[in-house]
Subunit: 585 residues, 2 copies
C-alpha cells in the first residue's frame, strides 16, 4: 500500500507516476470507507484527489502555501500531510475536522468553512510574504460553486493587479452544491469547449494570466501544468476541468445529493440509517410555497445555492419554474434581489441558513430595511443545537438581524405558528419580515395561534402565573414549558409563561404588568446572550426591582462540540435554569 | 432658459438636439451654483449630465425604471424629474436629499447610498415586472468605482443568465473616489482603447450583450445607443466613456478632491470656509503609520476606496509605497486580506468608516475572528454626530462588531489613548483588534494613559465616587465628565467616572465593587442602545439591586437630522442625562 508510507508531502515527491496513480486509487478507497461509515463531504473530495496529489508533488508545502476555498474538499490534502490515519483508522476518524484547521497541521493556514474567501486570504499571505521579503508560492484553490460569491470576485480583482507570485487553481466541476447558476458559468463552459482558447476569457478580463487543464483528474497533466506555473512572478489562473464525485458511480451520476453524505451502503449507495420520512420544516415550507405560487404568481422562492434547506429539491424546483430562483452562492445579491422584487409588488421569500445570512448584513440594512420593502426572509437552523463546526455555527443571527431598524424578526414556537407568521408576512406590505424557523424538531400548538402580527411587539401571554415569568423565545419555548413544569412540581410556583413572538422589540405593556406580582423574569433564547433578545429585557427592567436572568450561550467560538454538554456548560438544561431561578428567589 | 420648462421627463422628449445641448449647459450652471454654495458630490454629477438627459429622452420613466448605483450622481436625474427648483432656488436646496429617494418622486425606486447595489436591486424590479406580466425597461446605472464591490459582481452574474429586458449602463469615468484599483479596470481600458471591440470582454464573459459609447458626454451618441437597446429582450451592458467632473476645469484636473466638495469660490475653486488646519484623527493616523512603516516593513495600511478617511492623501500614499494598499470599494476583501497578512506575520491596519464596515460582517467573523489573526481595524466616524444621511449613519458598528467572539473592540477617549491602543495593537499578536477612533474632535488626556491592553476587559476607574457610577464609553467620555460635573454642582453627588475602554466585555471585578456603595450605574455610548455596550451592563446587574440606565440612541433609521435636536430627542445632553439619573435616586 502506497498511502501507508505517506507521512508528509515529501513522501509524495518520491513516487513514480505509476505509484501516484496507485496512491489516488488507495485514497479514494479510504475516502469511500470513511464516508460510508462516518458521512461527510463526498463529491468535492472525490473530484480533487488527483489535483491534490499533483499540488503536493510539485509544490513544497508548507513553505509553499495552499489555501482551499470552503475547504470541504481538503480531505485528500489532509491524507497527504501527516493525517492519513484519520482516514484509514475508524478509531481516529474524529481526530480531524471536516475543514482546514491550522491547529492540526502547519500545512493548513486558516479555518475556512464559508465559500469564496480563499483568493482574498491567500492574497494576504502573498502580501505578507512580500512585505517580509520572503519567498515561496501562494496557491488559492477555488471552485465548486464558490466563484459566484462577491468576496471571490473582489479577491480576483485585487489579484489581477499584483506583480508577484500568486497562483489560483480553479476547480471547475461544473457544479455548486446544486447545479451552477450565473452568466459566468457559461464562460467556463466556453473555455472548456475551446480547451481554454476562446478569446473572451473571464480570468484574462480580470487581468490574470491563464492556463487550461482539460484532464483535471489526470495526475500527469496536472503535474505538468503546476510545474509550468511554479515560481511564476505574476498572478495566474490554472483552470482545471474535474469530475465531481469521480470514482463512485452514484456520486458521478447524482452530483447534488452526493455533495454531502450520511453513512451509506457502498454497494447500493443507500443511506444506512433511514430517515424517519416524517415532516420537516424544509419540506413543509417548500410544499406550502408551491401551493402559494399556484394561487399567486407574484410569489417567488429564492435560494443562494442551498435550495434544499428550504425543501426545494430538484422536482420541486421544476414544479416552481420561474417562481423559484437559485442565484448561486451569492447571499448579498439574494437579499437585494428580494428587496427589488418586493418593491415591484412581488412576494419574495428568501430561505437561508442562519450561518450564511451573516454574509449579507449590509444588504439587510441598506437594500432591504432602509427601503422598508416587504420581503420575507426564512432563517433556517437558527439554534445552538444544529451545525457544530465552528465555521457553521447558527447562533449569531439574533444579534445580527434583530438590531437592524425596521426589520420585524419573528420567532415562532411551533409548526402552526410558523405558517401563520409566514402567511401573514406574505399578506402584509408594511415591513421586511424575517422568521426564525423552529429548529428543534416539529412541535404543535395546543392553543389558538394568532393569524395577524401587524401590531408589532405584542408578546403572547400563554399562561398567567405569579412570582416568576419565563420569556421563552421560539425554539426554546418547549424548554420554557419544561422549566415551568419543574418549578411547579418542585416548589409549587405557578410560573408565568410568555411567548415573545417578536425578537425585534419589547412589549412594554406586558412587561409592566409583570411588575405587579413577579419578582423575576427569565429570558430563554436559542442563541448567544450578547446583543440578543434577553439583553433588551434586562435593559427594560434596568431601573425596576424586577430581577432578570438571561439564558443563552456565552459569546464564544466553539468547534465540534457535543450539543448536550455544550448546553449544560451554558446552564441551559431545564433543571439548571430552574436551579438558577430558585437561587435568586 | 430651457431648464425652467422641464417639469418632468416628458418635457425633455420635446426638445431638439440643440435644445438638449443648451439644457446640459444650464444644468451644469445650476449644479455649479448649488455646489459652490451648498457643497455635495461634484465630479460624479458633472460627468453624468448628458447621459441622464439621454436616458430621459429615450426611456419613459417611471414606467421604465432607472436605478442609480450609490446615487450620488443622481442630481441631474432629480433636475429632470420635477425637482429642478431644489437646484435653482437656494431657498429650496434642502428640499431634496443627496441620494435617490422614493419619498421625493415616483422616478426614484430605492434609497441608495452604499455602492455596488444597483444591478441586484434593478434585477429585483425586473423579476417583479416579469412575475406580474408587466412591461417596461429596467435600467441599472453603475460605475464610478462601484463595479469592484462583490455585490455588483453577484448581480452581474445573475443578470448574465436572464432572458428578459435588462439594461446596465456602465458609467466608466476611470475613477473611484480616488483612482480605480483592480484587474478589471485594465479590461475597461482595453475596451475604451479598442472602441469596445477587443475580444476579451469582462461583460461578455459574464454572459451579457455589450455596446460601447466612446463619447459618453455627447448627447446624440448616447441617445442613439439607448435607442438601440430600448425594449431589448435580453440583458445588455451599455459601456459609456465619461469624464468625471466635466465642464469645470479644477474638477476635471483634480478628480479625487473634487469627488465631493464643500462650498467653494467658483473663480478659484478654493473652499469658502478655510478648515482650521488643526490636527484631525485621519491625518494623525496617517502620519503615525508612515513613521511606523519606516521602522517596520511589516506594517501595511489598507483602504477600501476611501484612503483619506485614514489620512492617506495622494502624497502620503506615494510615501507609503507598497506599504499602502487600496483594494477599491471592496470591504470584504479588505478584511480577509488583512487577516491573511496578519497570518503571514505582517502588521495590517485597515481604516474604514463605521457605515462601510457593515459590508464585511461575515469576513470579520469568519476570515478574521475565527482565525484569531492579529489584524488591526480602525473604525472612523463611529458616532451619532458624524454623517447624517440615512444611508451613511455611523452608529451601528457597536452591535455589529462587539458581539463577534475573539474580537477586541476598544473605545479610546482621547488622542493619547487612541495612539496608545494602536501602538499596543501593532505590538501584540494574540487578538484581532478594532479601535473606534474618537469622533467628536480631538481631546487630550489629563491623566496617565495605559500602554498595555493585553489584560482584556479591565475598565479604567478615572474617579472613584459614590452613589452614581458613569460608564462613559469612548467619544462619550467627555459627556460623562460633564454629567459628573453637573451632578456635583447641582446636588453634591461625587459620581464615579469609569472609562470602559473595552466594548467587547464586562469588567466583572470593577462592576462588583460598585455594588458596595453605588445605587445606580449609567452607561453612555455614542451609538444605538440595541445590541450595544450598555445592554451588557444591564444584563450583568440583572439580579442585583443596582439600577442601570442605558443612554444611547433608539434603534431607528433617521435621515438628514439636526444633530443637536437628535441628541436631545434621545435624551443625550448632559442635562437630560443628569435629570434622568436624579429621577431614579
Amino acid at each position: 500500500m502506497v498511502l501507508e508510507n505517506i507521512n508528509s508531502p515529501e513522501d509524495v515527491k518520491k513516487l513514480s507516476l505509476e505509484e501516484l496513480n496507485l496512491l489516488s486509487g488507495e485514497m479514494r478507497e479510504a475516502l469511500l470507507h470513511r464516508l460510508s461509515n462516518h458521512g461527510g463531504h463526498f463529491g468535492p473530495n472525490f473530484g480533487m484527489v488527483e489535483a491534490t496529489i499533483a499540488l503536493h508533488y510539485v509544490f513544497n508545502s508548507p513553505e509553499d502555501k495552499i489555501v482551499f476555498d470552503v475547504s470541504h474538499q481538503s480531505y485528500p490534502h489532509k491524507m497527504l500531510t501527516g493525517r492519513k490515519e484519520a482516514y484509514l483508522d475508524p478509531e481516529k476518524y474524529d481526530d480531524v475536522s471536516g475543514y482546514s484547521e491550522p491547529s492540526e497541521s502547519a500545512h493548513d493556514h486558516f479555518v475556512i468553512g464559508h465559500t469564496s474567501t480563499s483568493v482574498s486570504l491567500a492574497g494576504g499571505l502573498a502580501k505578507g510574504r512580500d512585505l517580509k521579503g520572503e519567498k515561496g508560492n501562494v496557491i488559492a484553490v477555488i471552485g465548486d460553486g464558490s466563484l459566484s460569491g462577491g468576496e471571490a470576485f473582489e479577491g480576483l480583482d485585487y489579484a489581477g493587479e499584483l506583480d508577484t507570485n500568486f497562483i489560483i487553481v480553479v476547480n471547475d466541476n461544473q457544479m455548486s452544491i446544486a447545479e451552477n447558476h450565473g452568466g459566468l458559468y457559461r464562460n467556463l463552459q466556453e473555455l472548456r469547449e475551446s480547451q481554454g482558447t476562446c478569446p473572451c476569457n473571464f480570468f484574462k478580463a480580470m487581468g490574470l494570466d491563464y492556463l487550461y487543464v482539460d484532464q483535471g483528474n489526470d495526475i500527469g497533466s496536472l503535474i505538468s501544468a503546476f510545474q509550468k506555473v511554479k515560481d511564476i512572478d505574476h498572478p495566474v489562473v490554472v483552470h482545471i476541468n474535474t469530475l465531481k464525485g469521480k470514482g463512485y458511480r452514484p456520486a458521478e451520476e447524482h452530483k447534488e445529493p452526493w455533495h454531502y453524505c450520511a453513512p451509506f451502503d457502498i454497494a447500493t449507495g443507500e443511506p444506512k440509517h433511514k430517515s424517519d420520512d416524517g415532516e420537516d420544516y424544509g419540506t413543509l415550507t417548500a410544499d406550502y410555497l408551491l401551493a402559494k405560487m399556484k394561487e399567486d404568481r407574484r410569489v417567488v422562492g429564492i435560494t443562494a445555492g442551498t435550495p434544499t434547506i428550504m425543501g426545494f429539491t430538484e422536482d420541486r424546483r421544476l414544479a416552481a419554474g420561474r417562481q423559484f430562483v437559485d442565484v448561486g452562492i451569492a447571499e448579498e445579491h439574494a437579499v437585494a434581489l428580494a428587496s427589488g422584487i418586493a418593491k415591484a409588488g412581488g412576494k419574495p421569500v428568501f430561505g437561508v441558513c442562519s450561518s450564511f445570512i451573516q454574509r449579507a448584513y449590509d444588504q439587510l440594512s441598506q437594500d432591504l430595511c432602509i427601503n422598508n420593502n416587504p420581503a420575507t426572509l426564512l432563517v433556517f437552523w437558527g439554534s445552538l443545537s444544529t451545525m457544530n463546526d465552528v465555521t457553521h455555527l447558527c447562533f449569531f443571527d439574533i444579534p445580527l438581524i434583530s438590531n437592524i431598524p425596521n426589520m420585524v424578526y419573528l420567532a415562532p414556537t411551533c409548526k402552526e405558528e410558523y405558517f401563520a407568521m409566514l402567511e401573514w408576512s406574505l399578506r402584509q406590505d408594511s415591513h421586511p419580515v424575517a422568521i426564525r424557523v423552529p429548529a428543534l424538531g416539529l412541535t404543535h400548538a395546543d392553543r389558538e395561534i394568532a393569524t395577524d402580527y401587524s401590531e408589532l411587539n405584542r408578546y403572547e401571554m400563554v399562561k398567567k402565573g405569579t412570582k416568576v415569568a419565563l420569556l421563552a423565545l421560539g425554539s426554546f419555548f418547549p424548554l420554557g414549558e419544561s422549566v415551568a413544569h419543574i418549578l411547579k412540581e418542585k416548589v409549587g410556583i405557578e410560573a408565568t409563561l410568555v411567548n415573545p413572538r417578536y425578537i425585534t422589540g419589547t412589549d412594554d405593556t406586558l412587561l409592566d404588568t409583570l411588575k405587579t406580582d413577579h419578582a423575576l423574569v427569565a429570558t430563554l433564547e436559542d442563541g448567544i446572550q450578547d446583543g440578543g433578545f434577553g439583553e433588551k429585557i434586562a435593559r427594560y427592567y434596568g431601573t425596576s426591582p424586577m430581577k432578570v436572568l438571561n439564558f443563552g450561550a456565552r459569546k464564544e467560538f466553539v468547534d465540534r462540540f457535543d450539543v448536550a454538554a455544550f448546553l449544560r456548560d451554558n446552564h441551559l438544561t431545564a433543571e439548571q435554569i430552574t436551579e438558577d431561578i430558585l437561587a435568586q428567589l
